[in-house]
């Protein structure tokens, strides 16, 4: 089989997270032989992405949302907004899709060792950051303080709320949540206030010389977040952002995901802010 051909996978579970967002679990149809490593597409780093295709409809880039699992299960958190993801609203366990990947560079876990980590997610940006978060918790001893700031439009749009509240009960991590909409009912949601995401940074005491920030959110949140992080003393190189672009080939040829001199598919999608700083329109 040629490198880059999609491999057939089957949806194994479907969990509606909100009215427009679903968490899918999938498994490749040709599992690796016993003892062999995982199928390539099921072996990935947090922050990487794959290309998911529906036959006859098309292919779209989707971030990994979980961590590699020994049985090859892949978790993808998908918002139903586009030509491929809208038909996926009706997908059921047993349905077939095509997968190619993994692509891109993920979060630089190596440089995170013994460092305090500040994860900041906005909206659907929680999907790739959940992958990072789970990977960090698996090897909790490797890192310093772990903090998650997560904001969404309204309480009902907070993804993985049950998981996050469960995690927040342990001392492994501190979690602060925000919803944009004033007057939202926050009953039963501890650690949550009605505020815009950057305001959560006021609650955090960080030691800039030993902190890395990992951000993923809609483009609109990046500029205020980066400004605020800079004010708090965090160097550009310590701020990692995951960019969204329209990666079509995933392999550095098709030109769709160019961000200045970089290609989101091969140089990103996770970039440190120092790389992006001079590129107008990279963040917005």
């Amino acid at each position: 089989m040629k490198a880059g051909l999609p491999t057939s996978a089957t949806i194994t579970s479907v969990r509606k997270l909100t009215s427009d967002t679903t968490l899918f679990a999938l498994r490749c149809d040709d599992p690796a032989a016993a003892g062999a490593p995982l199928p390539a597409v099921a072996s990935f780093l947090p922050g990487q992405f794959l290309e998911l295709s529906l036959p006859g409809i098309g292919e779209v880039p989707i971030s990994y949302c979980g961590i590699p699992s020994s049985d090859g299960t892949i978790e993808l958190c998908i918002r139903h907004v586009g030509h491929v993801t809208i038909p996926l609203q009706n997908a059921k366990p047993g349905d077939a899709v095509g997968l190619r990947g993994p692509f891109g560079l993920g979060f630089p876990l190596k440089s995170y060792e013994n460092q305090d980590l500040l994860l900041i997610a906005g909206g659907l940006g929680m999907a790739p950051l959940r992958s990072l978060l789970l990977a960090l918790l698996v090897e909790r001893g490797q890192w310093g303080e772990l903090t998650l700031l997560y904001g969404a439009r309204e309480p009902g749009a907070l993804l993985f709320l049950d998981e996050l509240l469960y995690m927040s009960q342990s001392s492994d991590i501190r979690i602060y949540l925000a919803v944009d909409r004033r007057g939202s009912c926050l009953e039963g949601i501890p650690h949550c206030r009605a505020a815009l995401l950057p305001a959560l940074l006021d609650q955090v005491m960080l030691q800039p010389e030993r902190t890395h920030a990992a951000l993923c959110g809609p483009p609109i949140v990046y500029t205020p977040l980066v400004e605020r992080l800079n004010q708090l003393g965090l160097a550009d190189e310590r701020i990692h952002l995951s960019l969204e672009r329209r990666m079509k080939c995933g392999q550095g040829r098709c030109g769709h995901c160019a961000v200045g001199t970089y290609l989101c598919c091969t140089d990103g999608p996770v970039f440190n802010y120092a790389m992006l700083k001079g590129i107008e329109g990279a963040l917005v």
Binding site: P6, P55, G56, R79, K248, G252, H256, C257, I279
Partner: protein
């Protein structure tokens, strides 16, 4: 030592190549236009005209299947395209600006991921380049480091001589193989004097300086001024020998069909658009800037080459008269 070939023999060579099962592609009359198209025989070869579109589709077709799929019992099966069926090809009469382009594109199609579709066609194609005797005022090959006599990229290079002959220069092993195999079409004679080649008038550009300017002027108002007129039609990209952006789409039903790769253009307004509605390059100046940056900076940063051979096609094709060579000359005037 085979030195020359007559025009008559060149046409006869095409007949023989076709008879031997090769696909022969060369400039051919197509309605009012001349295009690089498969030739049925030597008489179809049109000499002395720059084809309307470049020769890149010989290697990178406008549209091609990259896989076929079928859904059976709920599972998706994917099938490879059989590349062994791609014919052995001779691209004949490619002008220097077209013959040089594949050598530039090799980099992007093999730097990380190996694009087997492109590479297989490259492997199976022999390029017979032809020195250029007829330029127009849109040509600027000499400004970007090429010339009407540039043999770079050709496997065999033909230089027109007086009296309907061509001097053959064998550039590569592939070229040598072809000449050896079809020796009888060539003669050892020296031939007459070379015909005068075209002389594009534009002065050589300092591409290094342009690159440095681009490096520092991503946010210049220059882009707004230059691209105000651009209507985003994409014609410049489609007729360019070096533009390589493509899209991938499925054609067929949910149960059965093909996935296809086809040309795309960074000038199109939806080129970078996301399903969410977010569009990182949402106004035309940003898109035009990307076109210039990609050709004269990004590609050079990555692969050490400029993504332009100065064929001038985009200048001729632009419906609103944007002249890329004039844009580069304008950049040359700026202080770094």
């Amino acid at each position: 030592m085979p030195n020359t070939i007559t025009e008559q023999n060149l046409r006869a060579l095409i007949d023989t190549l076709v008879k031997d099962g090769s696909r022969v592609v060369g400039p051919k009359a197509a309605g009012d236009m001349t295009l690089y198209e498969p030739l049925a025989g030597g008489t179809e070869l049109v000499l002395g005209v720059l084809p309307r579109r470049s020769a890149k589709e010989t290697f990178f077709p406008l549209c091609e299947d990259i896989l076929s799929y079928q859904k059976m019992e709920g599972k998706m099966t994917v099938e490879d395209i059989d590349l062994s069926r791609l014919p052995s090809t001779v691209l004949i009469g490619a002008l220097p600006c077209d013959a040089a382009a594949p050598g530039i594109l090799d980099a992007v199609f093999s730097w990380d991921y190996q694009d087997e579709f492109y590479l297989e066609r490259r492997k199976k194609t022999t390029i017979i380049g032809l020195a250029c005797t007829k330029s127009d005022d849109a040509c600027f090959c000499t400004a970007v480091g090429y010339s009407p006599a540039e043999s770079r990229g050709s496997d065999i290079f033909l230089l027109p001589l007086e009296g309907g002959r061509y001097r053959c220069q064998i550039i590569s092993d592939k070229g040598n193989l072809l000449v050896e195999r079809y020796k009888s079409f060539f003669t050892d004679e020296e031939g007459g004097n070379a015909l005068p080649l075209s002389q594009p008038s534009m002065e050589k550009l300092d591409l290094q300086k342009i690159r440095e300017w681009l490096e520092n002027n991503f946010e210049s108002d220059f882009w707004k001024e230059i691209a105000e007129r651009c209507v985003g039609c994409g014609a410049c990209a489609f007729i360019c020998p070096a533009c390589h952006c493509f899209d991938i789409n499925d054609e067929g039903s949910e149960g059965k069909g093909v996935r296809r790769k086809h040309w795309d253009a960074c000038g199109f307004s939806k080129f970078t658009n996301h399903a969410s509605g977010h569009n990182p390059r949402d106004v035309q100046p940003q898109r035009y800037r990307n076109r210039i940056m990609h050709k004269f900076k990004y590609y050079d940063d990555k692969f050490g080459q400029t993504l332009c051979t100065g064929c001038g096609r985009c200048v001729r094709a632009c419906p609103v008269g944007i002249d890329i060579a004039a844009v580069l000359q304008e950049i040359m005037k700026y202080e770094l």
